[in-house]
């Protein structure tokens, strides 16, 4: 029997299960313990698992993310939580120069079985130092896997395979999804290798991930009312990209729009478009379109923030452009 829960609860359950099942797993980050987690993902964990395994850190992102890498090298299975992707920039050196390189640079001797979770994305009027979507940057880095759970199932199911993965996995949780409710099916186990069609259609493929998925689905509903049958493809795994599933959707629909909350220039959307060019150019009826964030730091005022971000209306307009 399926049951209803929200994204936050799904992620909390996933961490709870991991902590219960494997003594090597521990959670480390700012205010994960006594405060209950910045977004209450780990509320109650400190009492249940104790301060050794629910480890509050000082404001030392470079230090504790690096310590997570070291602990993984030393035999533990850390889950390191960074409050937001903006703050992860303080730890970028350790992630890019150490976590991502060690396996290859050591000639295959040292793996880093680490999971790093962080909040990403805009939509809460937190302005330019708390709202960015930099998962596309991380997806640029060979040596790490990048996940973007955008459904209740993925929020519940992605952590276990990420922890089982022998290499570093970075999980991006979009802040706009935390209160989203949904049905969790009985079998919620998921892989961390494939993209997934969230709505089947035949006229246009809307390719997206993370916080833009609900917007893409809303756009598809609006398009259906206008007689356009849109397919919505959730990338889920941003690195490595599941090229085959992307091309299957593109070949079926012959038109594609890529929706990405990252900035347009050098975006993940650009990479997806390039792959379509390389692999499916002759299947296309029209040039691939994209809806990205405007190229500005995200502003505070609500109307400006909304204008800066991809929205269902912008997706609808981009799709209608194909049929004009």
């Amino acid at each position: 029997m399926s049951r209803k829960l929200n994204y936050r609860e799904a992620m909390r359950e996933a961490m709870h299960e991991a902590l219960t099942n494997d003594p090597r797993v521990f959670l480390m980050g700012e205010d994960v313990g006594m405060y209950g987690g910045t977004y209450a993902f780990s509320k109650g964990f400190l009492d249940e698992f104790g301060p050794e395994r629910i480890r509050d850190t000082p404001l030392s992102e470079l230090g504790f993310v690096g310590a997570g890498i070291g602990a993984a090298l030393g035999g533990m299975r850390p889950i390191v939580e960074v409050m937001t992707v903006n703050f992860s920039l303080l730890a970028l050196d350790q992630i890019v120069n150490s976590a991502a390189t060690f396996r290859h640079m050591s000639g295959g001797q040292f793996s880093v079985p680490l999971v790093i979770r962080m909040t990403t994305g805009a939509g809460r009027q937190l302005a330019a130092q708390h709202s960015h979507s930099l998962e596309g940057w991380y997806a640029h880095i060979p040596g790490i896997k990048v996940l973007a759970p955008a459904t209740i199932e993925d929020a519940r199911g992605m952590l276990a395979p990420a922890l089982a993965d022998p290499d570093p996995v970075v999980i991006f949780e979009h802040a706009g999804l935390f209160n989203m409710e949904g049905e969790l099916p009985d079998d919620w186990s998921v892989d961390i290798s494939s993209a997934k069609v969230r709505r089947a259609g035949k006229d246009v493929a809307i390719i997206t991930h993370g916080g833009s998925l609900p917007k893409a689905l809303a756009a598809a509903e609006q398009l259906a009312a206008a007689g356009i049958d849109a397919e919505v493809l959730d990338l889920r795994v941003l690195r490595p990209l599941d090229t085959a599933t992307i091309m299957a959707s593109v070949a079926k629909c012959r038109r594609a729009v890529v929706v990405d909350e990252g900035w347009r220039t050098g975006s993940l959307a650009a990479e997806v478009m390039a792959r379509i060019m390389e692999n499916a150019f002759y299947e296309l009826d029209a040039p691939v379109a994209r809806v990205c964030s405007e190229e500005v730091p995200i502003p505070y005022a609500r109307h400006m923030e909304e204008a800066a971000l991809p929205q269902a209306e912008k997706i609808v307009a981009a799709v209608k452009g194909f049929f004009a």
Partner: protein, 333 residues
């Protein structure tokens, strides 16, 4: 959970002329009333995002900033409403910024955490913990290289001390003998993490000493002490002695931001610290010394309340920046 017992409330005669003392008192009251209103407007949905109140800590910004000159540079954090106001920014421009209105100091682009004001040399509220420290070093460097007299006062919290940026900045400033005043507002918590749970060495002045930087510790609830110590410190920095570190020991009376169940501290601890509240203790001292009457206090409070009412009216009447301007100001030209 650690108990942070409050010392006795600040007491003793106020060694200042009445005029000056009342000006500083008025500034503390202005911040308090402005922020209480901001909290109310947050509840009403007029202000959104994060809102970090300075309530309880007013003596630090007021005492310290009155010890600086208008030519000095200020670098602040996301808990900077008070600093902006005391520095001379118009309350209406601050309130309008919190509302996200075009008439705000940054046209509504930054909001509460990012108050900027070129006229008063406020180089921003910075929402990356520790993010302001390296900038302050650079501002000090520019001053030194251009033989200017100004100093840079950089405000940051106890939490920021754990960041690498703090240590790198302290070392650079000391190494290059830069005119930077490091103002650490130690309110004993970085969000929900108390200083004992974040620092192996909780005496922050010892850290400054390790960089060969002089350090002073002061009761941040005592505006007289804050002001006198900062004046002294600023003078030393100004004459070229190099950077200086001041630790202001203070306490935040409200939640970290607007969403915070405050599971990490006892209510009793907060109540105990409130007995050291900078406004009522300073008022009592002034009254005891015959420098303040109840009527005068009420007049100060009434003036602050009408300034707040005018600021709210200004923000309410404000307009929204047109969406066509979204890309404006990304580059200078």
């Amino acid at each position: 959970m650690t108990d942070h017992h409050a010392a006795a409330p600040p007491a003793g005669a106020v060694p200042w002329k009445k005029d000056f003392a009342l000006r500083l008192l008025a500034d503390m009251v202005r911040i308090r009333r402005m922020e209480e209103k901001a909290a109310e407007m947050y509840g009403a949905g007029k202000i959104r995002g994060f809102l970090h109140l300075y309530i309880g800590e007013e003596a630090t910004a007021v005492g310290a900033l009155h010890a600086l000159s208008p030519e000095d540079n200020i670098v602040a954090t996301y808990r900077e409403h008070g600093h902006a106001l005391v520095r001379g920014m118009d309350m209406g421009a601050i309130m309008a910024e919190m509302y996200g209105k075009r008439e705000g100091c940054a046209h509504g682009r930054g909001g509460s955490m990012h108050l900027f004001d070129k006229a008063t040399r406020l180089f921003g509220g910075n929402a990356i913990v520790g993010g302001g420290l390296p900038l302050a070093v650079g501002l000090g460097l520019a001053t030194k290289m251009q033989n200017e007299k100004r100093i840079t006062a950089c405000f940051f919290g106890d939490g920021a001390v754990a960041e690498g940026a703090f240590h790198e900045s302290m070392n650079l400033a000391a190494l290059w003998k830069l005119p930077v005043l490091f103002c650490c507002e130690n309110n004993l918590f970085g969000m929900g993490t108390s200083i004992e749970r974040a620092e192996s060495q909780t005496d922050l002045c010892v850290k400054a000493a390790s960089y060969n930087m002089p350090a002073l510790k002061v009761d941040g609830m005592d505006i007289v002490a804050v002001h006198e110590v900062t004046k002294q410190a600023a003078q030393r920095v100004r004459v070229g002695e190099g950077p200086l570190f001041v630790e202001y020991q203070t306490y935040r009376f409200r939640a970290h931001s607007m969403f915070d169940a405050e599971l990490y501290r006892q209510k009793a601890e907060v109540e105990e610290w409130k007995t050291r509240g900078p406004i009522h203790t300073f008022s009592a001292r002034l009254k005891a010394g015959g420098k303040l009457s109840e009527e005068e206090f009420l007049a100060i409070d009434a003036a602050a309340n009408s300034e707040v009412a005018a600021a709210v009216a200004f923000a309410e009447a404000g307009t929204w920046e047109p969406i066509e301007d979204l890309l404006k100001d990304l580059h200078t030209s």
